[in-house]
Every structure is written in C-alpha cells, then in structure tokens.
C-alpha cells in the first residue's frame, strides 16, 4: 500500500513552570500505519499527543494536516479534524448505557424523542466492521476495563476520526485482552485509519507497530521502521547513555538473583476476610505466607481487593475474620503504628491521597511514619538537625527534584512524589514491605533503582508483598505470584510456572467461573 504523510508536527515546544516538557519535537504520521510513540515516564509522549488533541496549548511550533497548517485550540477542533484520543483514564458516565455514552455530545437524528435506532444501527455497523463485540445496552459500571476501553475506541470511531491516539492502552488489560486490542488495531489500519500508540513497553511496540518514534526528556531521540529496530537500540534510546544496562534489573538476564530457597516465614495470612462499611465482602478467605527475603507478587485487575489486602496487612483496616501472623505473633488486631514499629513499611497505591502531605514540607514527608524513631526524634522531641541531614541525603540518593528539606510538598511533581515515598520506604531497615504499584510514574532508570533496592533489602531478610497492575513488573522480580480476583486468591504460581496467559486467565476470573 502506498503510504503518504498525513500529519506533521514541527518544532513543538512546551514548558510547564520551569520544566521543558517538549523541546523542538518533530513528529510525523503516515497513512495506514501504527506508529509506536515510545519513551519512559516523563519523556513527553502524552504531552505531545495532548497538544495534538487540543488539551494543551503549545508554546511554539506548527501542525500540518494533509499539507495544510492547522491550529487545534480544543479537543472539539481535534475531532473536527478527524483526530481522536483514548486516554488512560476513561471519561465515561457509569450509570449510562454503552450506547448513551457513545452518542453523548453528538447530534442525534431525532432529538425530541428517546428513539435512537438509527444511531444504534450505525454503531452496530461499526462494531461489525472493526470486530468489536460489545452489548450496546449494557451499563458502563457493569463492564470490565477491557470492554470500557472498546467503548472509548468506538466513541472515537463514531465521531469519524481517521487518526486515533491511544495513551498506554494496555495498562489495565490482561494479556488476552491485549491480543484482542491488537487485532482491532490491525483491522482499523486496514480500514484506512492511522494510529498513534503511546507506550513505555518495548515488546508491544516491536509486536504491533509499523514505525517507532522514541522520545526522551522531551526530545526526539530516534525514529525508525520496525525492520530497522532492535531491542537493544530501542532500550538505549529510551534510557540514554547514563544507565549501565549490564547491571540493570530490567534489561540484564544475569543479574536476576531470585532467591527461591525456603526460609523462615515472616508474614502469614490464614483465611483473612474483610467486610467493608457498605457490607460488601471485599476480601474472602485469603491465605498465603511470605518467607524472609521473598517477594510475593499479587497480580490482578485493578479494584479486585488489592488495596484492601494491603491495608489489612498494614493494620489500616482490621480483618473481619481470620488471622494475620508476623514472625509467629498474632497481629490481626495491631494498629498501623505498632506494625510500623515492628518494621513494616508501606508504599501506598494512591500517592496523592494516602502517601503524601501536600501542605507540609519535604522533610515532614520523608519522616512520616518513622517520626517516632531515632534518629528523627528522642523522647517525644523531634531532632530537626538529624531530620534535615537525613532528608538531604535521601533527596540526593533518590534524585528527588526539590530545593531542599524545607521545600513545600505541593511544589513536587508526581514522579518526585513517588520518589519521596520510595525514599521514605527504603530509609528503614525493614522486615516487611507492602508495596502497591511502587514504580508508577517513574522513568526506567528509577524503576530499575527501585528493583535494586528491593533486592538489596530482600537480601537482609525483608519480605515483600508486591501488589502491582503491571504484570511485566511482577514477572520480572517476584518469587511467586498470587492472583486476586474479586477479593479472593485464585491461585499462587511459583516462578518456574510463570505464564503470562495462565495468569491473565486467572485475573479475568475465567478459571473461577468455569469451575
């Protein structure tokens, strides 16, 4: 098929506060192609596409569509130009049906009645054409994330876009759903669409994309076709020259020192259940144990009780029944404070709500939870000299971008807030770490740094409960993976039995329902 350039972006610049998010970025999209926009967190991929979709205004630069320069002041204009975008967080109305969500905001043929037969027929036609199987009369809140994503894609198709931007579309999908999405994308390209696929996952790019463009720190690094691309050069393009790939956890095979020998049990859960304040069984009959130095991964689609599990272990919520034992001591009724003094550390999932004090200084944040312990305090008096010295050290070691310990927490970006939580967690010589999506929002070298720290602490005997929505992360560093579905552990696999598709099946509850 003859491919022509349909869209170009020239010398795009965008600055947030003082951070240069996009620095003279060039971008080109051809007809009938899937373009992989690759880069770590903070590389500027999403920012660039938000500019194209009219969500951000660029400081300078130009956009040329089909040979004509255009401006895109708002998403409405983007759609008028045939550009659609599916964000990581879907903007859908939960108690509306799929059909209502799709046609919301478009003009309908018979506005004075509730008759939408014509629209429904048109959407059904689209579904058939692109191989998207959806029940249009289902309510959004009843649908799993994979289906809700299809709704979002349909929304764009229904508005007649011919350029579709997908922002990290595989984040919350199980492997089977990822395959299905890729099939849809291939059909879409055949039907004449062009697709921009934003991702930080190398394998996906090599699997599906025709061309690959890599961004790093807001700059173009390289653009090439898949034929010319190799694993190693893409990795290098993404992480830059500074990182030693041989010594990294993510890219080097040799450094994966996963300890599998059985050691003394640190944490043990026996038939733990939790009924929340709405009388819903959020955890049922959870049993597992973690040995010293072991990393137990918890896989599962977001919202299957992972957060409640983490909070029950930490003592933030108290189990309704069952027992939790730490070093053979019953801690089911223990408070968070007691658990912290036992050597528990927690990296919460929701860093904005659960992990960070926006209105307090960076130093306040770095000692949160450990403020009762020496050297931070003695007999109820805070030793600010020690706190500030330790804070400066952590800021340096974990490359937190801040002016110093007294800087206001509110001045930090998302990635730096994550670094504060990581620094805080690793500042202690802990016995048990509960980490929930610990690397969300971090760039690749920082992710690697986190893994190295987990391994280092594991070597001293720390047990880790790693709850993650990133299956690749779990497969990379866990000794065993337990899969959660609707508040239950549906299976625990040892490392030698790791299989992406088997885990995906368990995550979707397929095994449960067939029983």
């Amino acid at each position: 098929m003859e491919q022509t350039t349909i869209l170009q972006m020239h010398e795009v610049n965008k600055t947030f506060d003082k951070v240069k998010a996009l620095d003279n970025v060039e971008f080109e999209l051809k007809s009938n192609e899937i373009l992989g926009l690759l880069g770590g967190n903070g590389a500027g991929k999403t920012t660039l596409m938000n500019v194209l979709y009219g969500l951000y205004k660029m400081d300078s630069g130009s956009i040329i569509l089909n040979g004509k320069p255009i401006t895109i002041p708002s998403p409405k204009d983007a759609i008028a130009h045939g550009i659609g975008m599916v964000h990581q967080h879907f903007l859908q109305i939960n108690n509306y049906t799929v059909l209502d969500n799709i046609i919301l905001g478009t003009s309908v043929s018979r506005p004075w009645t509730a008759d939408r037969k014509k629209e429904k027929a048109a959407i059904e036609e689209l579904c058939k054409r692109f191989g998207l199987e959806i029940d249009l009369d289902a309510y959004i809140e009843t649908l799993p994330l994979g289906v809700r994503q299809k709704v979002e894609i349909l929304k764009a198709l229904y508005r007649g876009v011919n350029i579709l931007i997908l922002d990290e579309p595989t984040t919350n999908l199980i492997p089977q759903e990822v395959d299905a999405l890729f099939e849809t994308l291939k059909i879409m390209v055949k039907e004449g669409l062009s697709i921009v696929f934003i991702t930080h996952k190398l394998r996906e790019v090599l699997h599906i994309c025709d061309r690959i463009s890599v961004l790093r720190e807001g700059k173009n690094v390289v653009s090439l076709t898949r034929k010319d691309a190799s694993d190693e050069m893409l990795v290098r393009a993404m992480v830059g020259e500074g990182m030693d790939l041989q010594k990294s956890v993510i890219f080097s095979e040799s450094s994966k020192k996963i300890i599998t020998t059985k050691r003394e049990t640190v944490l043990q859960l026996e038939n733990v259940s939790l009924v929340n304040s709405d009388k819903i069984n959020v955890l049922s009959d959870i049993s597992f144990e973690i040995g010293a130095g072991e990393i137990l991964g918890i896989a599962g689609v977001a919202g299957n009780g992972q957060r409640d599990l983490a909070e029950v272990v930490m003592g933030i919520q108290t189990a309704t029944s069952g027992t939790i034992k730490f070093m053979n001591e019953d801690i089911t009724q223990s408070s968070t404070k007691e658990n912290i003094s036992r050597g528990f550390v927690y990296i919460p999932e929701d860093r904005l709500a659960d992990g960070f004090l926006h209105k307090a200084s960076v130093a306040y944040n770095l000692i949160l939870g450990y403020h009762n312990l020496p050297p931070y305090s003695n007999k109820g008096i805070v030793n600010w000299k020690n706190v500030n010295a330790a804070s400066r050290e952590m800021i340096k070691k974990f490359t937190i971008k801040t002016t110093g310990p007294d800087d206001a927490g509110g001045n930090l970006s998302g990635g730096n807030i994550q670094r504060v939580m990581i620094a805080r967690a690793f500042s202690q010589s802990s016995k048990l770490m509960v980490a929930h999506n610990p690397t969300r929002g971090l760039d690749i070298p920082s992710m690697d740094f986190v893994y190295k720290n987990i391994f280092e602490h594991a070597e001293t005997g720390m047990a880790t409960l790693l709850l993650s929505e990133d299956l690749d992360e779990l497969l990379l560093i866990s000794n065993r993976i337990a899969v959660m579905y609707r508040g239950k552990i549906v299976g625990i696999l040892p490392r030698e039995k790791f299989d992406k598709y088997a885990i995906g099946r368990m995550m979707s509850g397929y095994d449960q329902e067939s029983k």
């Binding site: 506060d17 909070e311 930490m314 933030i316 408070s335 968070t336 404070k337 658990n339 912290i340 927690y346 919460p348 709500a353 659960d354 992990g355 960070f356 004090l357 926006h358 209105k359 307090a360 306040y364 000692i367 949160l368 939870g369 403020h371 009762n372 305090s377 109820g380 008096i381 805070v382 600010w384 927490g409």
Partner: protein, 337 residues
C-alpha cells in the same frame, strides 16, 4: 529576595486595605490621613495607650490560638467565644466559692479552673466529633449560644451584684486577683502568662513528635492515618488545647481585669481572634504578632471615635479588607499555576 517575594502579598493586602478603607473614610466626610495617624499612633504616644494595647493583646492572642491550633490539624473551632465564657464562669465560681484562700493558692486555682472549664467546653464538640463524626463547626457555634445563656444564669442568679445595672456577679475574692506588673495604669501578669503559652504552643507544634503528628494530620489526614498516626486523637487533642487557651483568656479577663463575671465580658475577642487567625493563615507562630497589630488598631479605633467622631467600625472594615485581600492573593497565586 525570596523572603521579600513571600511577604509581598501581605504588604500589598495591608496597604490595599488601608487605601480602600481610606476612600470610605473620605466618602463619609472625614480626613483619612488624620484618622490613620490616630489609629496607628495612639498605642505608642502615651503609657496608658500602650498598656491598653497590651491588655487587648492578651485575650486576642489566646482566642486566635484557640482557632489556629485546631486548624493545624485541619479542624475549625468557631467556639472560642463559648470556651472563653466557660473559662470565665469557671474562674468566677472558684474565685467566689473559695474567696478566703490565700493568694498563693487562689490565683492558680482560679486560672486552672478557667483553663479546665474552657477545655471541657471544647471537649464537648471534640468528643462529638471523635465519637459520632459530628461537624465541629456546627457544634462549636451552637455551644456558643448555650454559653451566653449560662453567663446570664450565673450573673442573674444568687451571685448577682444587685448594685450593678447590667447582669453582673459579685467580685471574686481579692486573693484571686492576678498580681499587677504595673499598678497605674493597671497591667497584670497575664501578659507574661500569655507569652509563655504562645511560646509553649510554638514549641509543641514545631518541636515535639505529637506536634509533628498534629501538623501531618492537618496536611493530609488520610496519609497521616495510613502512616500510623491516630488522626481522630489529634483532632480531639487540638480542639481541647485550643479551647483551653480560650478558657485561660476568659479566666484572666475575670481575674486580671474585671474581677467579676459581666454579661458581655467576651467583647468581640473571639471574632477578632478568627480574623487574626485568618490573617496569620493558621500559622501559630505568627499569631502573637498579628494579634499585637490588631490590638494597636483596636485601641486606635476607640481613640479615633473619641477624638474625631469617626465610627470605630471603620477599623472592622480595615481588618475585614485585609483578610479578603490576603485570601484574594491566594487565589491569584493559584490561578498563575
């Protein structure tokens, strides 16, 4: 440089408020420059003026702290008035019942009684919040109304002073009067007590782990809880500390100034305390300084009314405008982001 940049919004807010109120003064046919000269200089021209200012400074600082300490944990105590009155009632009761005790006993008892009754009055709201999650703004405001009735009851009951025109109790025992630093014009040691309390609260919130937990709770209660801080306890504690400060103010007003319970003894201290707390943006360590500034304005205001016939309410306009301008500068700062 950054310090100047940081304080610039305050300076603009204060200057802006004076200019805006100046226009108002001119509009009601008075000379704003003369008015402001009286307003600012009265406190410093005569010893009498200065001591009056100090006497206002004491209750203003304490009632402002009654607002800002709970605010450090994120709770709004609008009940300083009721807690002040509860403190005044407690102090009066002890002062009358135990009038025959020697000063070394009676003075501390009167003051402690005021602190305890003030704290208990605040504890009602704090406990309702702790136990039933009842909004503290509502409960503290409503308890103010109850306290007015209580003062009425005590001041018109068996202890009523029949010779007084307004509802007033008889005087507390002379041994319960706060010692004077200066006899004439009268200045009690209350000012020293207040400074000690302000320093104590600064030390508590900034140097102790409990104070750290208080600030962390105010900064993000959910994150504080997740990291092992008993946030409900911090809510309770901060409300009670604030209420105790207001109770102390009430006790010192009885023991150091009026020597009896008078209906309306609370003046407008609690309202001004709120304004002071807002101008300080809830920072406990800024409260004494802002309170002093407001005390200067208040003393100047009565002088202005006496000598120039300008209604003293003009000062309330200035104070309110400062608050509004400071809040406005916050808004502008947020918009710029």
């Amino acid at each position: 440089m950054t310090q100047i940049k940081k304080s610039l919004p305050y300076i603009i807010a204060v200057v802006g408020a004076f200019i805006a109120a100046g226009i108002f003064i001119a509009a009601i046919q008075y000379n704003p420059f003369e008015a402001y000269k009286t307003l600012i200089t009265t406190s410093f021209r005569t010893p009498n003026g200065f001591i009056q200012t100090l006497m206002k400074w004491v209750p203003l600082t304490l009632t402002a702290l009654a607002f800002t300490v709970p605010l450090s944990s994120g709770k709004y105590n609008i009940g300083a008035e009721g807690q002040f009155l509860a403190g005044a009632i407690g102090a009066t009761t002890v002062g009358i019942l135990l009038a025959d005790l020697p000063p070394a006993l009676l003075i501390p008892l009167v003051i402690i009684a005021g602190i305890i009754t003030g704290a208990l009055w605040g504890l009602i709201s704090a406990w309702l919040l702790y136990q039933f999650n009842i909004n503290e703004i509502l409960s503290t405001v409503l308890l103010n109304f109850i306290s007015f009735q209580l003062v009425d009851y005590v001041a018109t009951g068996p202890w009523r002073d029949p010779s007084a025109g307004a509802p007033t109790t008889i005087a507390i025992g002379q041994n319960g009067y706060l010692p004077m630093l200066i006899k004439n014009p009268p200045l009690s040691i209350g000012v020293i007590l207040m400074i000690l309390v302000a320093i104590g609260i600064y030390f508590y919130t900034n140097k102790t782990t409990s104070g750290y937990e208080l600030v962390a709770t105010g900064a993000n209660p959910r994150a504080a809880k997740v990291h092992g801080i008993d946030t409900r306890k911090m809510f309770l504690l901060s409300m009670v500390i604030g209420a105790a400060a207001a109770g102390l103010a009430g006790a010192m007003e009885v023991s150091g100034v009026q020597h009896r319970l008078i209906e309306g003894i609370h003046s407008n201290f609690a309202t001004l305390g709120l304004i002071i707390g807002l101008i300080s943006r809830g920072k406990n360590q800024a409260v004494p300084f802002v309170a002093f500034f407001i005390a200067v304005l208040e003393v100047g205001a009565s002088a202005m009314q006496r000598t120039m016939m300008i209604p003293s309410q003009v000062v309330l306009i200035v104070e309110a405008l400062i608050v509004i301008f400071i809040l406005l500068s916050d808004l502008i700062k947020r918009r710029q982001k």
